[in-house]
Symmetry: C2
Amino acid sequence: MTEPSSPTDDSSTPSDPTRRTPPAVAVVDAQSPGNVGTIARAMKNFGFEDLLLIDPPELDPEGEAYGFAGHAREDVLPNATEITFDELVSNYHTIGCTAVTNEDDRSHVRFPFSTPADLADRLPTVEAPTALVFGRERVGLTNEELAEIDEICSIPADEEYPVLNLGQAATVTLYELRTLTLAGDETQLPDLERVRAPEETVDRLYDQWGDLLEEINHPEEKREKTMRMLRRIYGRADLTAREANTLLGLLRRATERPER
Amino acid sequence: MTEPSSPTDDSSTPSDPTRRTPPAVAVVDAQSPGNVGTIARAMKNFGFEDLLLIDPPELDPEGEAYGFAGHAREDVLPNATEITFDELVSNYHTIGCTAVTNEDDRSHVRFPFSTPADLADRLPTVEAPTALVFGRERVGLTNEELAEIDEICSIPADEEYPVLNLGQAATVTLYELRTLTLAGDETQLPDLERVRAPEETVDRLYDQWGDLLEEINHPEEKREKTMRMLRRIYGRADLTAREANTLLGLLRRATERPER
C-alpha cells in the first residue's frame, strides 16, 4: 500500500489526461480479504483507480484479496491507500452506500437517498474529490458513520431481501457509475450504429419481398398486411448491413428461381 | 435439487400472480461453488427464482455455495434444477452473456449483441420462456455453445479489462433486469416523490429568504442574483417537506430576530 496522500495532490491525477477523475472507492472495516479483491476487480472493470481502505483486513499477496482481484492485482490493489475514517470524511465529499434507508424525512441518517443511476446523472457536474463509501459485511456502515457522511446511496432491490453482499453492491454501483470514467469509445463493445444496415438496403429488402410475394402468387388482399409483418420483424431485429445483403441475395434467388 | 421440469409446467408459476414470470438463470459448467452461491444471492436480491445448472460443481450445504448465497440458501439454491445444455437450448429462448464480442458482422457467433440495459427494455414484450446463460470461469461460454444460443448479451466495461468475474457479471445483469421482476413498489426504497416538498412550501421558503435579505440590508442590486442562486441550490437539493418547513422556521426566526 502507498502512503496516504491528499486527494488534491497532483500525484493522484490519472495518467491518461483525457479521462475524467473518477470518484475514489472507500471500504470501511471489511472483514473478508476476498471482498476487497472483488471490489478492486470491479474498479478495474469499470475504470476506477483510487482505492481507500479504512481498517482493512490483512491483504496477503498470496491470499484471497489478490486471488479475487483479477488484473487489479497489478495496480488498484497494491496502490490502495490506508486512511482513517476521519481523514476520509474531511478530505472527500462522501457518498455512503446502504441497503436500508429510512422511510421518510423524520430521520436524516439514511434519508433522502440517491440510487446509483441518480448519481451517474448528477456527479459529472461535481468537481470536488468524491468517495463512494462501502461498509463492512453484515452490518454495513453504522448510523454513527452515516451521520458524518455527506449523502446516501441505495441500490433498488427486492423488498423481501434487499441486502446485497458487499462485493456485489460495489460491483453494481461501479457499473452504474462507469459513465463517469469511460467514454463511449472506451468500452470493449464496438459501436453498433456503425454496422446497422443503411435504410436504403433495408428498403431494397422489402422491395425484394414484394417481388417474391408476387412471384409466389401470395393473395393480393393479404400482401399489405404481410408486408407490414415483415417490416415489424426486420425492424425489431436491427439488421446489420451484411445480414440485410445476405437476405437480399437469398430472396432474389428465391424470386428468380432459375430452372434447374 | 429438484427434478427437471418443462418451463411451461404450471408448477413453475411464481407464487405471487401479480409478478411477471422472470427469465430463468442458467449457469454452464461453473467450477467454483462460491460463484453459484453468489449468483443465487443476486437472483434473490433482484427477484429471480428459477436457477438452472448445467454440469454444476458439487453444492455441499455446508460449503461455499450455501455460504455465499445469503437468504437464497433457503429457496433459489435448493430449488435449482440440473439440466443438460441440449435441454436448455431446446426449451428456452437463450441469451448468452459474454465479455468478448465480435467486432462486426463478419462473424455471427458473438455479434450482434445487446447490453443488459437493452434487454431490460426489450424483454418485457417477449412471452416465451427465456434463460440468461452464464458460462464457466475464465473461458465463459465456448464458441460452440454460443452458436446454439439465440442471442448475445455483453456488459459494457473498460476496454483495457472488460472481463468480469462470473458472479459479478451475473449480479450486474440481474440488477439491470430487475425491472422485469420487481414493480416500482416492490423494492425496499420508499417513493421519494411522495415526500418531496410541495412547490407551495418551497415558494414560501423563497419569500422568507426575500424578507431576510431585506431585513439584513442585502444590497438591492444584488438581490435578484442572490435569489437565483438560492433557487438553484434548493432546486438541486430536492428538499423534503420536513426540510423545507424546518428551514422556513429557521429563516423566519432569523428575519424576526426577537430582542434578546
